[in-house]
């Protein structure tokens, strides 16, 4: 009996001293190895008188468990100690820079086109496109702007042949013509894209972007036009309320025609949309001229509707506070980085247009 006690006390004492892992493992095998102290006690069980045997066995098991636990704890303790020591040696200067990465950006015009498409998508418009090089017919004549019409003066046109039959489209309106010639009404489309005018100064670039809108159906009137634009402007500028004004104007391809102004004010040298008493012209629109409908073989008695056109670059400038139009196409690395959008920042309806 005292044997067991002795073993226990002896080892408890040993465990309290500072040990390394191999010393503890040695202890483990001294106790529980084939001929270990505890193991040999177990071998004894058979030789003990039957009356004592149960007690001896139970006491032996208790001591075995106790020692085993203590040794395992000790091992863990030492291992922890060792890891701790190792980690302490491994400490690095975490303020050193991360591995290099590069970040791409989406041009503000592309982002704005996605925003516009997203807004019009919600109210059922689909996106159409047309070529950059257009025929004189599609760009002007079909749009009720025959040769010798003074309205042509407002479009400084780039031509590709001496006969002036091929040109770079001066607006996205020829997409109206292409769309209506290709399909049958109703039509409900927007057409964003590049447009060109041979005009270049601080506020004009020889290339810019427009988005055309066209909605033709049986009973589409100017109220729908107003509603559509009111909706668009609110959504685009992410405002609950805007001030909008329709005023009469003239475009050969619409009748009646209107220009649309939105209210703004200057705050710290920046244009703030939606408030204030000043008016800013942002787009032209109107009811598609019956002559245009006739030109594309749509019966103007049965079908009517509206069209609008607006400058995408200008919308981007207003929304994002960009002052210089020319910089859009100057490809300055600093500018692209500053005004560009993260490619993951995709404008959507459910998430919202901007972050």
């Amino acid at each position: 009996m005292s044997d067991l006690k002795k073993i226990k006390d002896e080892f408890l004492l040993k465990l309290k001293s500072k040990l390394n892992l191999s010393e503890v493992n040695q202890m483990k095998s001294d106790l529980f190895g084939k001929n270990g102290l505890v193991s040999s006690q177990f071998k004894k069980i058979g030789t003990i008188a039957e009356t004592e045997r149960k007690k001896f066995a139970s006491e032996l098991n208790v001591i075995k468990d106790e020692l085993q636990n203590l040794i395992n704890l000790k091992i863990k303790e030492i291992e922890n100690e060792e890891i701790k020591e190792k980690l302490q040696k491994e400490k690095i200067d975490i303020t050193l820079p991360e591995r290099p990465f590069v970040r791409g950006k989406i041009h503000p015009v592309s982002q704005t086109i996605d925003e516009i498409s997203s807004i019009f998508s919600e109210i059922g418009f689909s996106v159409e496109e047309g070529p950059d090089v257009e025929s004189e017919y599609n760009n002007f004549t079909a749009l009720n702007t025959p040769e010798n019409h003074p309205a042509r003066d407002m479009h400084d046109t780039f031509y590709l042949d001496e006969k002036k039959e091929r040109l770079l489209r001066t607006h996205t309106s020829p997409v109206q013509i292409r769309t209506m010639l290709k399909d049958k009404p109703p039509f409900k489309i927007i057409a964003p894209g590049r447009t060109y005018r041979s005009d270049s100064d601080q506020t004009h670039a020889p290339m810019f972007h427009q988005v055309e809108g066209l909605h033709i159906d049986k009973n589409i009137n100017m109220g729908h036009l107003k509603g559509c634009l009111n909706y668009f402007i609110k959504e685009f500028f992410e405002l609950d309320k805007i001030k909008m004004r329709f005023r009469p104007s003239h475009f050969p391809f619409t009748e009646p025609s209107a220009e649309v102004d939105i209210g703004y004010e200057m705050k710290d040298g920046k244009i703030v949309i939606g408030e204030g008493h000043q008016w800013l012209e942002i787009l032209g629109c109107g009811m598609v001229h019956p002559n245009v409908l006739r030109n594309v073989k749509v019966d103007p008695i049965k079908f009517q509707g509206y069209a609008f056109g607006m400058g995408i670059d200008r919308l981007a400038m207003l929304k994002y506070g960009i002052n210089d139009l020319r910089a859009f196409f100057d490809c300055d690395y600093r500018w692209l980085n500053h005004f560009g959008f993260d490619p993951l920042d995709v404008p959507t309806n459910y998430r919202g247009l901007s972050r």
Partner: protein, 801 residues
């Protein structure tokens, strides 16, 4: 079109103020561009008297004058005019005033060492006449108002309107007044037209030749004899000055006045210089004349000219000639009031590149019924101011004006604009605008006023009505949130996907012109044909781009010059293959310069290389849904790529269309354009050549196949001839057993020691896995052998022992 409230009031009786006017003009579609207070500037110019003059100490021709400007102290003013003498009453401009002619602001300045406080003005400096050699001499009556403003105070601001091309009637003050009156802004004053009372016949014979495409259909004239052309009276001068015009002489001023007042251009000839009579005819090729702008014009066939028996007097409706122009000493004048056809005017002026006030008006359409009224108005004024005798009016015409009739169903109004106005209101508006109407069964017949060439059909009437009743009455109908058709089609989706996919790889998106510099374009043109712009904005933007590279390189270079080194930019957009509509392709083009990991403490820095762009291209295409296992890549690329370090990619072996090119930009190009960078690589992905992968159902993904059986990896090193591509080895390995070989990776390429010079060693790691069972040693040994055998047979490679 410039107007003042004062002038409007000649035609409009109204209780409203100018403030209301501006808003109302905009509301009816006459957009106010600018409002300028001219009188405020001009109030500063004072009547003054020269008290004393002495010679300038440092300049012979200059005098130093003491001038009484109505203040206690006399002002010292340096003046160079010969007529600046003691006692002269003239006009003084103080420092701070803006000289109308030069638009410069006057400051106190030293002139040859003597300080001058202001200036004494000539008529020319005040835009009153061309007289510039002397200062203004005012009659002695002005003595009483020394120190007072020289110009009478005008309450009116100058209002600049942008008149749309469909509204020639509003190029006259009366037309604007009519619109305002119709909109309820006042009442249009009705004049009893003054008519010439004369029994003298107009003696000069006028003939309009009946020719094909004759540009003139009516020619009205009257002769005024024994006039004394003079300076205009003050009221007339002020009128013209108030809208920014410069008075010239009474006769010119009167014709201008009538033009601005009722939009009736007139022309005054010196009748004594007209040889026999007037012939209105088409010009002949090569005819010449000198116009009032002192330029000589060579005419083509068929331009409408006014001529006499000697030759051309002027281009009808565009510009007069010097030969028959009126001068101050002109005695007898012939006044012309005609109708020229807009198309003819426009064709001629375009060809001659001539732009005049008359042309601007005639090409938009002048009221053909205003011919007599214009002549009456002008001739009577001339007689009043310049004296003389007026002849009867002579009118020659080859066509008569027919009043246009438009049928109008009043229900159309609500159908188009979405709100209703009463029939009474409709007729009130139309009547005020000058329409006459007859009621028919279901519609009205409207007679369109002669001054409205723009109104030809029913919808034009609708516009008139909604314009006058107010666009603010159009009520908003909210759009319905409903989508019947998908917003984007497949290729548009691909466009947006690739746009963001490339950006996500570290490229900044650029948007550059669709045109470019032909010199740069030539570097990247390949075999495409050059597409010239006939009228480029500059020689550096003279062709449509055949490749996006030209612009990207130009701008890349600019950015390198700004001191940037490691740049990645891209553009997605059109390139052009021909000058017909549709001869264009959509391309994503990227360009990278410099190094990767420059100055990194942790990564090894290296030049960007062809495998960087290859990665970008391959990854982008995989992301877009294409299978990389099927890609076929070879090294045939256009001449702007480095011939040895570039590749082209097909989506499938045997495919016809190139999906992408990538590689180093040809070193000779970077040298020629002096690119200062360590490395320049680029790629082009051709959107139109990417067949959108077909799936049975759009959203269904392919079946999910995987194997849980143990896989094993084996490494092989083959020695092959240098002309064998890594891809050949990969293809050979793949063909050995498509079922068991699940992955192949090239992990080393070695040339040099221990390898014959014409050969290289390629090390490949192959993953072998079955979908049916765990492979045993025997299976693995067999596949090993098979791989080696196949590769050796197919490529002539030898396994390295």
């Amino acid at each position: 079109m410039k107007i003042t409230f004062d002038w409007l009031e000649d035609h409009l009786k109204t209780n409203f103020k100018e403030k209301n006017l501006l808003e109302q003009l905009t509301n009816v579609g006459l957009e106010v561009e600018r409002v300028q207070n001219l009188s405020l500037d001009k109030e500063l110019f004072k009547v003054a008297k020269i008290i004393k003059t002495i010679k300038h100490p440092n300049a012979d021709r200059l005098k130093v004058c003491d001038v009484n400007v109505g203040e206690k102290e006399l002002k010292k003013v340096v003046c160079g005019a010969a007529n600046a003498v003691e006692g002269l009453i003239t006009v003084y401009a103080p420092p701070g005033s803006i000289i109308p002619k030069t638009k410069t602001k006057l400051v106190v300045a030293k002139i040859r060492g003597v300080t001058s406080h202001g200036m004494l003005c000539s008529e020319s400096e005040l835009n009153l006449s061309d007289k510039s050699d002397v200062i203004i001499e005012l009659p002695s009556g002005y003595k009483k108002i020394i120190g007072k403003s020289y110009f009478s105070k005008s309450k009116s601001n100058l209002i600049d309107l942008s008149i749309t091309p469909n509204r020639p009637d509003c190029l006259g003050i009366r037309g604007i007044a009519r619109d305002l009156a119709a909109s309820g802004f006042g009442k249009l004053i009705v004049f009893k037209e003054k008519k010439i009372k004369s029994n003298i016949r107009q003696p000069l014979k006028v003939k309009i030749k009946k020719e094909k495409k004759q540009g003139c259909s009516i020619f009205g004239s009257c002769l005024i004899t024994d006039v004394k052309n003079t300076e205009s009276p003050k009221w007339l001068k002020n009128k013209l000055i108030s809208i920014g015009q410069k008075p010239i002489s009474a006769i010119v001023d009167i014709t201008n006045y009538v033009m601005f007042d009722i939009n009736r251009p007139l022309h005054a000839y010196d009748a004594d210089k007209i040889e026999k009579g007037i012939i209105v005819r088409n010009s002949k090729l090569g005819e010449e004349f000198t116009a009032l702008d002192n330029k000589n014009y060579k005419l083509e066939d068929g331009m409408c000219v006014i001529s006499d028996h000697k030759g051309i007097l002027g281009l009808g409706g565009i510009i007069g000639g010097t030969r028959s122009g009126t001068e101050l000493d002109t005695k007898n004048i012939l006044l012309e009031s005609a109708y020229f056809k807009p198309g003819s005017i426009r064709t001629t002026s375009k060809k001659l590149n001539l732009d005049t006030d008359a042309k601007f008006r005639f090409e938009r359409g002048i009221d053909p019924l205003s011919i007599e009224n214009g002549l009456n108005k002008a001739a009577i004024l001339i007689k009043e101011i310049c004296g003389g005798k007026i002849s009867k009016i002579d009118i020659q015409k080859i066509e008569t004006h027919k009043t246009k009739i438009v049928k109008f169903d009043i229900n159309l109004f609500e159908k188009i604009v979405g709100f209703k106005i009463s029939t009474k209101e409709i007729f009130k508006i139309l009547e005020n605008l000058g329409f006459k109407f007859k009621k028919k069964k279901n519609f009205f017949e409207l007679a369109v006023p002669s001054w409205r060439p723009d109104i030809t059909q029913e919808v034009d009437i609708v516009e008139e009505l909604v314009r006058i009743s107010g666009y603010d009455k159009i009520r908003i109908i909210d759009p319905i949130k409903e989508r019947k058709k998908s917003t984007l089609n497949k290729s548009q989706k691909l466009f947006h996907f690739l746009q963001r996919s490339v950006a996500s790889k570290g490229y900044l998106e650029a948007i550059t012109w669709s045109f470019t510099d032909s010199n740069y374009n030539d570097y990247f043109r390949g075999t495409k044909k050059e597409i010239k712009i006939v009228n480029p904005i500059s020689t550096e933007l003279d062709v449509l781009r055949n490749s996006i590279f030209s612009n990207l390189i130009i701008y890349m270079n600019k950015n390198l010059d700004r001191g940037f080194k490691d740049l990645s930019i891209y553009e997605i957009g059109p390139i052009f293959t021909g000058s017909k509509p549709g001869e264009q392709n959509t391309v994503v083009c990227g360009l990278s310069s410099g190094k990767k990991s420059r100055l990194s403490w942790i990564e090894k820095e290296r030049n960007v290389d062809v495998f960087d762009v290859k990665k970008d291209v391959v990854q982008t295409l995989i992301e877009a849904g294409h299978k990389s296992e099927e890609f076929f890549i070879d090294s045939k690329t256009p001449n702007y790529y480095h011939p040895g370090k570039s590749g082209r990619l097909f989506l499938k072996k045997g495919a016809e269309l190139v999906a992408a090119y990538f590689g180093e930009i040809h070193p000779s190009i970077t040298k020629k354009i002096d690119m200062k960078t360590e490395s320049l690589v680029g790629f082009e992905i051709f959107l139109d050549n990417l067949k959108i992968p077909k799936k049975t159902l759009n959203y269904h993904k392919n079946k999910f196949n995987f194997s849980d059986y143990q896989k094993s990896e084996r490494d092989f090193a083959f020695i092959v001839n240098k002309d064998i591509n890594a891809q050949d080895l990969i293809n050979a390995i793949e063909s050995a057993d498509q079922n068991l070989i699940s992955n192949i990776k090239v992990f080393d390429v070695y040339e040099g020691d221990n390898i014959p010079e014409s050969q290289k060693s390629i090390a490949i790691n192959v993953t072998i896995q079955s979908t049916e069972k765990t492979l045993n040693d025997n299976d693995l040994e067999n596949i090993n052998k098979l791989i080696i055998e196949t590769v050796e047979n197919k490529t002539g490679a030898k396994i390295r022992s």
